[in-house]
């Protein structure tokens, strides 16, 4: 019971600290902006730990964070293999293939007005659908290996990416287009020097959305069949054995991998679209 009480005190004092920090004169500094959410994160973990121990929550419902960390450190090799199988082989390859082909098709659609008019409504319709549902079909077609996971990822990222690319390529303003015309620029020059750079903020928006979709697609596809390795496989079998500490360990790995992937795209985006109002800061 003491631990529960401790959790309460911990929560309240951390919150008061955060409230003070948020209203302090330094609230706009970078350090405080980083510190406040970090304190909040640690508070959640701490309260979780204290409550699980204090209320003796059974392991099969919620393991304490300390146990998750312990399990993770004992199974680093398994976690790494799962990460390679699901993230590098499945999600990343599918991501690259799906995004590249969507950008390519987007460029093609931009050249052919009739195709664009017909295909774009279909594409926006597809983008709203539960595409993970194609996983059982693609697993059947491409087998249990990483290829089927990559295929699911390709289908999942394709439509959001296509919509963003096409929207981006139409983003250049009337004056910018007229300018190209007064220079008697050919289509290729106008594309390379105007439409493609103008489309970059949109393309990166698509690339960012797609990072999350890729990881989700690769993990969920493994629920429909996989070799005996992979994050989705490990999650579903560990859930079956009620080894929730392992499930949480995989989830932590997935979260870290997902944010790192997203973060890398954001860094590249900052380098390329530094000129866009949203990036100037």
């Amino acid at each position: 019971m003491n631990l529960v009480f401790g959790a309460l005190i911990f929560w309240v004092s951390a919150w008061i600290l955060n409230a003070k920090l948020a209203d302090s004169a330094l609230a706009d500094t970078r350090a405080i902006k980083l510190l406040v959410p970090v304190i909040f994160g640690f508070t959640i973990i701490g309260v979780w730990e204290l409550l699980v121990r204090g209320l003796s929550v059974p392991l099969v419902i919620l393991p304490p964070p300390s146990l998750v960390i312990e399990t993770a450190s004992q199974n680093l090799e398994i976690l790494w293999k799962d990460l390679v199988q699901t993230f590098i082989k499945g999600a990343f390859r599918g991501y690259v293939l799906g995004c590249l082909s969507a950008i390519f098709v987007g460029i093609l659609l931009e050249r052919f007005e009739f195709l664009r008019l017909g295909l774009m409504p279909v594409a926006s319709f597809m983008a709203a659908l539960p595409i993970v549902g194609t996983a059982p079909i693609l697993v059947m077609w491409f087998g249990f290996g990483w290829q089927s996971k990559a295929a699911v990822v390709v289908v999942m990222v394709f439509f959001p990416m296509l919509i963003n690319t096409v929207a981006g390529l139409r983003e250049s303003s009337q004056i910018q287009n007229d300018l190209m015309r007064t220079y008697a620029a050919n289509n290729w020059q106008a594309f390379l020097k105007l439409r493609l750079p103008a489309a970059m903020p949109f393309i990166f928006n698509g690339l960012k959305i797609s990072t999350t979709l890729a990881l989700i697609g690769a993990i969920v596809a493994e629920f429909f069949g996989s070799p005996t390795v992979g994050m989705g496989f490990r999650i579903s079998t560990s859930v079956g054995r009620l080894a929730l500490d392992m499930v949480w360990a995989e989830i932590v790995v997935a979260a870290v991998a997902g944010s790192l992937f997203y973060g890398i795209i954001v860094i590249i985006e900052k380098g390329i679209t530094f000129w866009h109002p949203s990036q100037r800061g």
Binding site: W15, N18, A19, A22, D23, A27, I32, K33, V36, P37, F40, G41, V60, I61, L62, F114, L115, L117, G118, L119, P121, V122, F125, A128, L129, P130, V132, G133, T134, A135, P136, I137, V139, M140, W141, T211, T212, L215, I216, I219, V220, F223, F224, G225, M231, G232, I235, S236, V239, G240, L244, V247, W248, E250, I251, A254, A255, G258, S259, G263
Partner: protein, 286 residues
């Protein structure tokens, strides 16, 4: 008008490609079968065979269509083989989850825009949550709730709700912060209270953002409900149909469940889009 024509052409072309793909994917099986029976297949027989197999690699459109017709119109909706029955199972948890998720999301967004500490503590995490595959927690929620005796609609609804929760929070915070400085300054000169600012300015200006995130949220909810049916080997719902179909190689069943899920999703997003149009028009925002 021209776009209607091009949509028809494109959809027609897609169906044509689908039929062609069915021929090329299913012909191996058709040829094997004929070989074992000691038969020679002509081109026409081969093509017809690839379009009428029982467990084809890729069912032809008309096979899926007739399966859909059989399992929706010709079956009683209480029957376990009715796709409408299964859709309702999935739809009901989607809707319950969507309702819980969006209400909590809007409440949190209101808290975030009015409380600085909440904003600085929670907002970075809400944004970060969009970069991680939170769908991966779904199987665990189902099993954990199952082990303490909660089954059926609620566990799936919980997954749906947390999947739509974060997009709604992020979108709604953006929306509630979208009034121009000039508009907030105006209310400031009237010495309006926070509540007045909220009802007369922040909430109305947030509507376009709200609807945009609702549309994202409802799709996410549906995905959550479908994925939530996978881990326990549920026997009811669209996700269960997908899983059962993939166990037994019933490709036609998978495809019809998939098309059904697509129609449900399209209907849900369509209803929200219509609501958005009517609402924003009445508010003079279109």
């Amino acid at each position: 008008m021209r776009s209607v024509v091009s949509i028809c052409v494109v959809v027609g072309a897609l169906i044509f490609v689908w039929y062609l793909a069915a021929v090329s994917l299913n012909s191996t099986w058709a040829l094997d079968k004929a070989k074992r029976a000691g038969l020679e297949l002509g081109t026409k027989e081969l093509i017809l065979d690839t379009w009428s197999q029982e467990k084809p690699k890729l069912p032809a459109p008309h096979q899926v269509a007739s399966e859909l017709w059989k399992t929706t119109v010709e079956k009683k909706i209480t029957s376990k083989r009715s796709l409408i029955f299964h859709s309702w199972i999935t739809l009901s948890s989607t809707l319950v989850g969507f309702l819980i998720g969006t209400s909590l999301g809007i409440l949190l967004a209101i808290g975030i825009v009015h409380n600085n500490a909440m904003n600085m503590s929670v907002m970075p995490w809400a944004i970060a949550s969009q970069t991680i595959p939170i769908l991966a927690i779904a199987p665990m929620i189902i099993v954990v709730l199952n082990s303490i005796g909660v089954q059926g609609l609620l566990p799936k609804a919980i997954i749906s709700s947390y999947l739509c929760f974060f997009p709604v929070v992020v979108g709604m915070v953006k929306g509630l912060r979208s009034p121009d400085k000039i508009d907030t300054d105006l209310l400031h000169t009237y010495n309006a209270t926070n509540a007045q600012k909220f009802w007369k300015l922040r909430l109305p200006t947030s509507m376009p953002f709200l609807f945009a995130s609702l549309k994202v949220g409802i799709s996410a909810s549906l995905v959550g409900a479908i994925v939530g049916e996978l881990p326990t080997g549920a026997v009811r719902g669209l996700g269960a149909r997908l899983l059962a179909g993939s166990y037994y190689g019933q490709t036609i069943q998978i495809w019809s469940a998939l098309i059904m899920a697509a129609m449900v999703a399209a209907a849900l997003v369509g209803i929200l889009a219509l609501l958005q149009k009517v609402m924003l028009k009445r508010m003079g925002m279109t």
